[in-house]
Structures are given as structure tokens and as C-alpha cells.
Symmetry: C2
């Protein structure tokens, strides 16, 4: 792909120790070779934090700009890497770490320079979206859909980060850094899709809905920032329902520009590489950073009034009474032999996630999803 950009040239490719093809002198297996090279820009695509963080730090200390697709790295060490890059006058860009080919972070970065961002989020994980779409459209079981996603190369051999929502959460952290100068470190709520089953789609379908996994963050009136990951029920005519297979959809709302929606390939070899290449081009144009100010670490406030929702809940009949106060304002949607489906009255995100944790601690199997009217 770099062949299409003749103004850029790859000097070296760092591979794992002992894996360098000795016939290819551009292949090196030691970070020392990279540090000693004349390259001004290093693209980190190792993934994980160890040794990626240390390598990136050393490259920056050696005066090399960094482009990375590594969301775990940016979510855990983004603030110090940004500070180091600024101190050394280097570029530090990470477009490919959120949304794949979708230039959500760069657009958010540009928008916030002239607009007040109110919220951001969307469908940010292609693997879970593929699973949900397959369960809905083809009535596959969770396990069948996951296996299919793995066979197609969408899901990792260990898909835990995807299905628990952790991957989405990290991307939300990146949105927060770019939109609000905040790296949320604690008190966010995260519910993945590991508790979902095919029956849930059937009940949702009768109500005119399908199910998606979303991450959301935004400014709360109380002055804080909310941030969470959870499944949502969305109507068939909604933009979210139209996002099939492994696509991603990312949105933000600016006070002036209104709601902006970007949809495209959220993962995959060429889409991710295209995002990296756009960053290479941005570095050439002189862009140093994707952050408008100095990020601070902090907590989020998911009990804000912006987080008031109704929830669609499935719980075992035997644990029905556990719903307690949640139950009082709930409408029962459907009773099955062992389970009951209901739509609960308004509560905030923090309450719902706490309720689910409590019910599960007592042995109940629970699925819940935000319910859009």
C-alpha cells in the first residue's frame, strides 16, 4: 500500500527476535536497530502494552515521531507519551486506534477547535457487531456467531476484550481524550455481549428492534463527563440498525455543527492501514498531535441526568424478586418458561449496571440493554 505513496519510504520492519529474514536487510529483529536508524517516523503495530510502550518511549527519546494503531497503549500511556512528544517536538498520532478506516478521531479533533463537542460515541467494535448482526439476521447462537467471526478473521483467538466491551471502552477513552481532554480511568460502566442469547433477539424483534453494542461519552450538566459501554435496543429504522456485519458507526454532536455520523470499515487489514497512512500524510503536513490540550486523568459521572434511560431486561423467573425497586415501574413484555422479559422505568446507567452486578452476585442470569423509545 505504501507503494501508492511514493513520497514515503519504509526503511525497516521490526519483527520478533529470530524472525528476521536474513535475505531482506530491511527486516530487523532488535529495537536497537530501529533506534540507531535515520528514520524520523516509527509506525507501531505490535499491539499490547509490553513491550510496545517501552519501545515507543525509547523511539521518542531517540527523536522519532510515532504513529500507532494501539488503543490499549494510548488508553493506558497516552498522556505521558503525548507529553514526551511535545517536549521533544515530535508527532504522536493514533487515528487507527479508534474506528478503523473511519477518521473519527481526526474529525473530532478538527471539530473541537471551533465547536463545543457535546457527546461522542457509537458502534466501535466490528467483532461484536458482526456477532450481533449474525444472531439477529440468521438466528445463530452466540457461540456459532463467534466462531464464524473468528473464522473470518474478525475476532481474535482470545475474543475476551471484544465481547466484554473492553475494546469499545478503550475507544471511548480515546474519544474522551480528543473531545474533552479527559482520560477516564475509573467509575465507567461496561457491559458487553457475553450474556446475550438468540431468544433476546426474538423478543426484541417483536417490539420492532434489533440489538447493538455502543460506547457513549458526553458532557453532563453537572460539569462531569459520562462514559459507558452497553448493549442497546434500536429500532429497525434507526441508523444503528443499518450498520451490518463488521461495520462501525461513530458519531459526535457539536453545538454548532449538530450531529455528525461517520460510517465505514471499522477493522481489517486495508482499512486499518489506510488510517495509518492518513496519519503518515498528516505528519508530513506538520500535524504534531490529535489532542487539543493537556489531558487529565479522572473519573466519570454515570449517575448524571443525561444517563437516565429505560432498560430492556431479561432475568430468570426464580430471581424475579431481586429486581426490587427496578421492578416497581417495569412493564413485563414476555414470560417464558424460565425467564421474564421486561422494560424497566427510568434509571441512570450507573444504577442499571449496579443492579445487574448485584443480581448476578446472587446467581441470577441477567441480560440488559438500553431501550430507545
Amino acid at each position: 500500500m505504501l507503494a501508492s505513496c511514493p513520497e514515503h519510504q519504509i526503511d525497516q520492519i521490526l519483527v520478533r527476535q529470530g524472525h528476521a529474514d536474513t535475505q531482506k536487510d530491511y527486516m530487523v529483529d532488535s529495537i536497537e536497530d530501529v533506534l540507531d536508524s535515520d528514520s524520523q517516523l516509527v509506525i507501531e503495530c505490535m499491539g499490547g502494552i509490553d513491550p510496545a510502550f517501552e519501545y515507543v518511549r525509547m523511539c521518542m527519546e531517540a527523536g522519532k515521531s510515532i504513529i500507532t494503531a494501539n488503543k490499549a497503549l494510548v488508553a493506558s500511556h497516552g498522556i505521558e507519551l503525548e507529553a514526551l512528544a511535545r517536549r521533544k517536538g515530535l508527532s504522536f498520532l493514533f487515528s487507527a486506534a479508534c474506528g478503523g478506516a473511519i477518521p473519527i478521531l481526526q474529525n473530532l479533533f478538527l471539530a473541537r477547535q471551533t465547536d463545543q463537542i457535546l457527546w461522542a460515541g457509537g458502534i466501535l467494535n466490528g467483532t461484536t457487531n458482526y456477532i450481533l448482526d449474525a444472531m439477529d439476521k440468521r438466528s445463530l447462537s452466540f457461540e456459532q456467531a463467534l466462531t464464524e467471526a473468528q473464522n473470518l478473521g474478525y475476532a481474535e483467538s482470545d475474543p475476551t476484550a471484544d465481547i466484554t466491551g473492553l475494546d469499545t471502552l478503550r475507544k471511548v477513552q480515546l474519544l474522551d481524550m480528543v473531545a474533552f481532554n479527559l482520560l477516564p480511568e475509573s467509575s465507567f460502566d461496561m457491559e458487553g455481549i457475553q450474556h446475550i442469547k438468540t431468544d433476546d433477539f426474538e423478543v426484541a424483534k417483536k417490539l420492532g428492534y434489533t440489538i447493538r453494542l455502543v460506547g457513549r461519552t458526553g458532557l453532563a450538566q453537572n460539569g462531569g463527563v459520562y462514559a459507558y459501554v452497553e448493549p442497546i435496543l434500536c429500532s429497525w429504522s434507526s441508523q444503528y440498525a443499518g450498520v451490518g456485519t463488521n461495520l462501525n458507526l461513530a458519531q459526535y454532536k457539536g453545538e454548532n455543527c449538530g450531529v455528525m455520523t461517520l460510517c465505514g470499515q471499522g477493522a481489517g487489514r486495508y482499512p486499518t492501514a489506510s488510517a495509518v497512512l492518513r496519519d503518515v500524510s498528516s505528519v508530513s503536513s506538520g500535524q504534531k498531535s490529535m489532542l487539543e490540550g493537556s489531558c487529565t486523568k479522572g473519573a466519570v459521572t454515570n449517575d448524571a441526568i443525561e444517563c437516565l434511560k429505560r432498560y430492556f431486561i431479561r432475568i430468570d423467573n426464580a430471581y424475579f424478586e431481586l429486581l426490587g425497586s427496578v421492578l416497581r415501574t417495569s412493564n413485563v413484555i414476555e414470560r417464558k418458561e424460565n425467564e421474564v422479559y421486561l422494560v424497566a422505568g427510568e434509571m441512570n446507567v450507573k444504577e442499571m449496571h449496579e443492579n445487574a452486578r448485584n443480581m448476578r452476585a446472587q446467581g441470577a442470569r441477567v441480560f440488559f440493554a438500553e431501550y430507545e423509545d
Copy 2:
């Protein structure tokens, strides 16, 4: 809104001669005052070509960079203004001229630096989309929907450029300039929504479709570029159908990044101003141009195989035989008292537009729309 960007400051506002409020010394009513000022950047929002072109040219000659939202100006004089800006080392940006708040031109510009753009287009006119959506969802007549759009401030008092498709066509020309270095000047095909009536939506609805107006352009295998504007029938589950009221949806496909979709406010005071402000910010960051190379003027090739479509056609019964060869492969969908609806077999865009022109020349009332399977 500029108050939110303290790093930028308005020196002067040029109003029509005699309309300057003498209490406000920043209001001037003569272009000479602008030319004599120290401002380095002029934002042109007059609209129209005369005197906007002459004013912009004079500002550039006086060493001032230009941001404009004026699509007619860029589509007619963009090449010479770009050349003048380059010669003088000035910036010339026009984000707000296509897609309103949607940063389609800037994203296309960035994408094409590292990717091969294959096609671009979408729903690019908010007024016609509002009319189509209201006719479909609330069964308004064309005239009722147009009046409503005018009362809401979406449609101009003279809505000709919107409803004939000319406004969309100019935006397609801008997409061509940014994506393909081409300003198409002739042989494009343009069909607006002036021939549509509420019955057409009812027939489309029975097939599971609604109607939208789109502009499209792309690379043809024959080496040319196709570009046209026409109504399309799109299924209720498509992204296009989900674009309601006065929203816009713009897309492009890159060889590497795949299909990218951007959706948002296509018009309106704050959205358009937000696009202008983003350009102001880009000029501050040193961006000179939205064009990657030197544009050339040229024709388009709408008889390319990429332009082969099936068409949904309504024609008066009395003129049914005029369909001639078109008819041979057509399926009649519905016969009404005076009209017949059919879906024609494959033909290219150029053929269909020629057929419609010929039929209308003989007195037939015809509506047609691209038919997505």
C-alpha cells in the same frame, strides 16, 4: 460563533451599498474598504457569481486568502481562483460549498492523498430531501412540501436550482475537482424532482422503497469519469432511506479504506458557519488548498458500464408506445387510469436521460428513478 474562537477576530463585514450601520464601524459597504484593510483572510458568503467572483479575485490580487461557501463560484471559476491563490501563495478553501456541516470535501481531500478514490456522491441537497421525505411520510403534494420547505427557510424563494438538481450537480462538480482533479463542464446528466408526484411514492412504497435525489461521480473503466444527478428508489433498510428531513449524506469509496459514509446537517445557519470556521482553523494550520493537483475541465462519460442501471418509470398511457426499445425489457408494475408504472431493463444513465428528453419532447409526462435491487 466566532466568539468561541478567540484566536480569530472579525475586522470588517461587507454589506450591500447603503446598508452599513454607521454606528458600527466594522460594517463597510464598499469592496475598496476590504481591499484596503489589513485582513489576511476574507470569507465570501455573498452567493452568486456576480459580483462575488470579481470581489474574490480582487481580494486575492490584494494578497488575501479566501474561504467561500459559494458552490456556483467554485464550480464556474474554481480552477482560475485556485491558480491565482497558488501564484500568490494564498489559501483557497471551500468546505461549506458541499455538504454543509459535513466535512466531505476535506475528508475526500485527505483520503485521496494516500488512497485511490473510486467514486463519491450522495444526498447533497437538503431542500429536495425535505420535500421528498415530507411527500413520502406525510403524503403531501409536491407544492405543499415545497411551500413547507420555504416556510422553514430551507428552500430559496426561487427554488429552481434545488428542484432541477442544479445545486446537487454543482456539488458533484466540487467532488470531482477534489477527488479526480476534474471539473466536468459538459455532458453530465441531470434530472431533478420537478416531475415527481405523491402517487409515485405510493407505488414505490408497495415495492418497499422510498425516493431520494442523489448526485454520483466516479472513475469509469474506460478511463473517463461519470457524473450525474437523478432520483433513486431505495429500500427502507438502506442508509439513504434513513436520511430524513433536510439532512445530507455524502459517501466515497477508496481502494483501501472502502466505503466511507458521512451524514449530518447539510444546510442551515450554524452548520454552514461551522464548516466555514473549520476552514478558518485549517488556514491557521497552514492549509493552502483543497485540491491535490491541477484541475482540468472536461466532459464526463455517462455511457460507461459503471452507469448501467435499471429504472423505475412512470409515463402517460397515451405515450406508452414511445418507450419503444426501453419497453421491450420492461416489467409493468402498475397501471392507473392514465398512467403506467414499469421497471425497465438495464440501460446506462445517458440512455435513460436521453429517452426521457425524447419522450417529453413529444409531450409525454415522465418520471424516472434509478431502481436499486
